[in-house]
């Protein structure tokens, strides 16, 4: 009985915030679009799913989203690992301040930060202004609405998610293991690759996924910073829901994304079990 009570909030959470929305999506995906509120009539039709398969536009949007998420997560990992190493390497009393600095962007508004990127990168922005006044360029570089601007925004937004698990794994690493490796003749680089890196790979994978999964559904950053051709699934979803008002198609898209994101989770579980 106490066990049931303890687990109750978890079940309530799972049912209301995970199971119910998915169920609603499933019902919606099989419905037919209609004019009205809500903009569909219930039924059991596969039109929306058929459209997903037939129209490459949607498959490409899914692929573009996965590509963007993978690139973002990969870049985050490349930046996060050295950052986490540095944070774990300092004296313990400096760790909390560094952690606070890492989390600081979260305390500023998300849109505000994107606004800052726009301010930096637009044609009359700070970067172009600087480049021109230094005489490096004489016409403004197209920085905003590019792949690069979008990736910068994505990495900026998601980097802490990659740093945190790696940092935690690094500070939990038994220093005696590193000393034992050195004692057995391993030079510092060898110690890192054969012990530190090996033992923090699951954390790095966790960091990758923590970035990858939300990044795959991201639509604001590609919308505000990315090129118009970056039609990632998040943007397409938004358009189908709010501009085309084709809710069944949007629901089918969301379900397809969900299915695709479960795959890397399974892969991660396997990785966790093997180490």
């Amino acid at each position: 009985m106490p066990r049931t009570i303890l687990l109750a909030p978890l079940w309530v959470w799972l049912l209301t915030l995970v199971a119910a929305p998915v169920l609603i999506l499933v019902v919606m995906a099989f419905a037919t679009p209609a004019d009205g509120v809500p903009p569909f009539t219930l039924g059991l039709r596969f039109t929306a799913f058929a459209m997903l398969v037939e129209d490459f536009y949607h498959a490409e949007a899914l692929l573009a989203a996965l590509r963007l998420a993978a690139t973002t997560a990969g870049l985050c990992l490349l930046i996060a690992y050295p950052m986490a190493l540095g944070m774990a390497g300092v004296q313990p009393r400096w760790r909390l301040p560094l952690l606070a600095l890492l989390m600081l962007p979260f305390w500023t508004g998300f849109l505000l930060r994107l606004g800052a990127w726009i301010g930096l990168l637009r044609d009359e922005g700070l970067v172009n202004h600087l480049l021109r006044s230094l005489g490096i360029t004489d016409a403004p570089l197209a920085l905003l609405y590019t792949e690069g601007a979008m990736l910068a925004g994505m990495v900026h937004a998601y980097l802490p998610f990659a740093v945190l698990p790696i940092f935690t794994a690094l500070i939990r690493l038994d220093p005696a293991l590193l000393e034992a490796a050195a004692d057995l003749g391993a030079r510092p680089a060898r110690v890192f690759f054969s012990v530190t890196l090996q033992l923090t790979l699951p954390a790095a994978a966790a960091g990758f996924l923590l970035v990858f999964i939300p990044a795959a559904g991201e639509f604001v950053i590609p919308e505000l910073l990315g090129p118009p051709e970056a039609q990632v699934i998040g943007r397409v979803l938004w358009q189908e829901f709010f501009q085309n008002r084709d809710w069944p198609l949007a629901a089918a898209l969301a379900l397809a994304l969900l299915a695709l994101l479960i795959l890397p989770m399974r892969w991660f579980q396997k990785l966790g079990a093997s180490t």
């Binding site: 038994d174 293991l177 000393e179 034992a180 050195a182 004692d183 057995l184 003749g185 180490t275």
Partner: protein, 340 residues
């Protein structure tokens, strides 16, 4: 073989090593004995190269060790936590050092097999450390160090993580291994029984320097300082001073011995060297029986002396009535003068 001279290491205001001198001979089993904060672990880490001393010298066969990084020192260490690599199986753990040393695969295999044979773990090559018992982990750690054929092996509390029942046997096996390999072992321990039982020589560390060094029997029988006498267990220490050729102790309330050196500041008197006197015998001192505890082989008596100090006495027969006045006597050789 290994000579440490005036080693100094400070952590903030704490002097972990305070001008420590030590010489280790080739092929000996040496125990560094000390309480927490005595500097024994710091010393071991300095020897292994994980800690650099602030001052002092360290040589191995005349070669200066201090500029040599840990990975290049011909010294291996067994860690208290064993520090086995959790992502490698037993064979890979043992192979780790051999690979770094560039030993060919063929020789590696035979040396791993020999090392596992040495510690009695044949057949466990494919196990992960998490699948081993505490005793097995300890043996893998030992094999991983010994496979490198070090001339000097450092052991940090090698038995601390084992069950009490396993410690005695493991200790004897450790000594047998030391004899077989001929490597010098330096074992750090806080357990005086372990040090006395296994080592050829022991050094008792106090506040970052060597308080006394010598064979276990000698250090046990003739402790040089109050600290060593207390640390090696169960010795009564009585403060006092020499006057007119006799050692007077105010806290005991009488004369304890005569003919000790003039510099004596205290004496050590082992509980097993004190006996209760018969009625017709003149006691060295008298006191009241304060407490008695049966220990199986004998009784431990706590005797309150007139000066206020209490003496621990081991007595073979059932004790006299509580609070009764008893006479105590000891032979002249039982009193060990302490000079610090």
């Amino acid at each position: 073989m290994l000579i440490a001279t005036a080693l100094e290491r400070r952590f903030g205001a704490v002097r972990a090593l305070a001008g420590l001198d030590l010489a280790i001979n080739a092929g000996e089993f040496f125990a560094l004995l000390g309480g927490s904060g005595s500097g024994k672990s710091t010393l071991l880490r300095v020897l292994a190269g994980f800690e650099a001393p602030d001052a002092g010298a360290l040589t191995l066969d005349g070669q200066d060790l201090l500029p040599v990084p840990p990975w290049a020192r011909p010294i291996n260490m067994m860690f208290q936590s064993y520090a086995l690599f959790p992502h490698m199986n037993v064979a890979d753990n043992i192979a780790y050092g051999l690979k770094r040393a560039g030993v060919a695969a063929e020789e590696r295999r035979s040396r791993i097999a020999a090392a596992l044979d040495l510690v009695g773990l044949q057949g466990l090559e494919a196990r992960r450390p998490q699948q081993l018992s505490g005793g097995q982990k300890q043996r893998v750690a030992l094999a991983r160090s010994l496979v490198m054929r070090p001339r000097l092996l450092l052991l940090d509390e090698p038995m601390a993580a084992l069950d009490a029942g396993l410690r005695e046997r493991t200790g004897l096996e450790l000594r047998a291994l030391q004899r077989k390999t001929g490597a010098a072992f330096i074992m750090v321990t806080h357990d005086q029984q372990e040090a006395l039982a296994l080592a050829d020589r022991i050094a008792v560390l106090e506040a970052g320097r060597v308080a006394q060094i010598g064979p276990p029997q000698e250090v046990y029988a003739r402790p040089a300082t109050r600290f060593v006498a207390r640390f090696l267990g169960a010795a009564n220490v009585l403060e006092g001073r020499m006057r007119d050729g006799v050692f007077e102790s105010a806290e005991a309330g009488g004369v304890i011995a005569s003919g000790l050196p003039a510099a004596t500041v205290a004496v050590a008197l082992r509980a097993e060297h004190i006996r209760l006197t018969n009625a017709d015998e003149a006691p060295c001192i008298t006191g009241n029986l304060e407490d008695a505890a049966f220990r199986g082989e004998d009784w431990l008596l706590i005797i309150r002396l007139p000066g206020g100090a209490s003496l621990r006495v081991l007595h073979k027969a059932p004790p006299p009535a509580p609070r009764s006045l008893v006479g105590l006597a000891w032979g002249a050789g039982a009193v060990v003068p302490l000079f610090a």
